[in-house]
């Protein structure tokens, strides 16, 4: 964060190499290695990230690698990389597609907790596409994902942790890190992300207890098993936590199966449960439709 190029809304940023001009609208994110702004240029709205030159170069590579996934990228589309010059100093930045929507945890605030399961299905879709490109996400914190409104999809907005299979994961957050739970290595492989996805979902529903359990996988499994919301999919989450899935698609199929089964089984007739059950029927129907489309 040294020599940070600080800009305010209305400022114009001129690219040294392309000559393109970007007008800053507002800051939309600030991370360990850079600041992201919403900007407007000839292509319309876009996101601009200032970072040091090696991060810009590395993230540019990650973004372009993702685009090889059949036309629709699980991350933002890369537009261009450039430098801004100010007082003799060079400030590298890159421009990417601006993805609009709430981050996972913001999304959950407006929804019933059961939505966490739907989010997991979407997240597994995302991971499937990413793994198909030969990379893992690495850092599975909720702030790194956005739920896009139109197609109900999850896309990544921070690609700093994206790592090629077989290497050591570039960036991670302890809570979602398999190694921090003493549950395996930090090697970039699908099961690393699937472990993180299971923790992510558990933490979206039971934030505090999951944080407190960090490092103790058994305790995490107990939280999931005793959770009214997650109980139904506990077998799937547990398998992910024990690295038993090596493909996102297998986990997603088992999740849908588990979900469909639990929602059709008779529930106890307490009032609260009835409400929940009714919701679950809707969700089950939804899942079945979803399954139909996804498994086609």
């Amino acid at each position: 964060m040294r020599n940070q190029y600080e800009v305010k809304s209305g400022d114009l940023i001129k690219g040294k190499w392309t000559g393109h001009i970007w007008r800053v609208e507002r800051e939309i994110g600030r991370g360990a290695n850079g600041i992201v702004y919403l900007v407007t240029g000839v292509v319309g709205q876009a996101a601009l990230k200032f970072a040091d030159s090696s991060s810009v170069a590395a993230e540019t590579n990650s973004l372009t690698a993702l685009e090889r996934v059949r036309g629709s990228s699980p991350g933002p589309f890369f537009i261009e990389a450039d430098d801004a010059e100010q007082g003799g100093a060079v400030h590298p930045f890159y421009i990417m597609e601006y993805i609009e929507g709430p981050m996972l945890h913001t999304f959950m605030k407006q929804k019933k907790q059961e939505w966490a399961i739907i989010l997991l299905i979407w997240l597994l879709h995302f991971l499937e596409a990413l793994h198909h490109a030969g990379c893992v996400m690495g850092d599975l914190k909720p702030e790194n994902f956005i739920v896009t409104g139109d197609k109900n999809k999850i896309r990544a907005v921070d690609v700093g942790g994206i790592t090629k299979f077989g290497r050591s994961v570039k960036e991670y957050t302890a809570l979602y890190d398999r190694a921090a739970w003493q549950a395996g290595t930090r090697k970039a492989e699908p099961s690393y992300d699937l472990f993180g996805a299971a923790v992510l979902i558990a933490a979206l529903v039971h934030r505090q207890p999951v944080h407190q359990a960090l490092g103790d996988r058994e305790a995490l499994v107990r939280i999931i098993q005793s959770s009214a919301v997650l109980q139904k999919i506990a077998p799937v989450l547990t398998k992910a936590l024990y690295n038993e899935y090596d493909q996102a698609v297998t986990m997603r199929k088992e999740l849908l199966y588990c979900f469909a089964q639990s929602s059709s089984s008779p529930q106890k007739t307490k009032r609260k449960v009835v409400l929940q059950a009714r919701w679950m029927v809707y969700a089950g129907a939804f899942a079945a439709i979803l399954a139909f489309f996804l498994l086609n």
Binding site: S53, A57, N61, E80, P92, S168, V169
Partner: protein, 233 residues
Amino acid sequence: MNRGTMKQLLLLTDGCSNTGESPVDMAHFARRHGITVNVIGIIEENGSESGLDEVEAIARAGGGESRIVQAASLSETVVNVTRQAMTGTIYSIINEELRGILNKESSIESLPPKTRSEIAQKVEDISEESALELLVLTDMSASMKQKLPAVKEALYDLSVTMQSRIGPSSFSLWIFPGKYSAAEERIGWTNQAGKLAESFPHLVSGGITPTGPAMRQALSSFLEMDVYDEKSI
């Protein structure tokens, strides 16, 4: 010197050196011999950063990275610093080459972004695949007592990341002050990263902080085969 091997000394400390030669000079010496010196200054919760100017000065002289962190975020810092220093080392070699080819002021930023991305790809490959020799030198003076569990955890964490790399890594753990000398070796070079955390001692040693002399002694374990000679320092 083996060309493909990156050598790093990671110094973990919580305060100023108070005896013996300057650690900054020692860092300079290390750098001249192709060893990068990284320094992490550990502060108390809500503690001040005073007295830790030295941390940055040592890292600057040693061509490495420096961070000042609370014990709680030590783990991720240790991993990130080690990683960044590896890519930093490669980039500084590239910059040097560029200056040789182009002109004195050239750096990676004088190349167009597309070329930089291609270089970044190569740098990432090299730092993932090349061999790493990492010597961890830990301050065990009395004030470190509260922080030792965090240091141990950080070393465990580091070992996990290093074991996930493609390239071979070897480790050595030194602590200071030593019982009979400025520093003592706890674990000699090993490729079993797990040993770092396993054999981490729980007892602090004493009140003095001979950072400079400790670095001198620890560096000997990199250099014993070639140039280690007191006069050359």
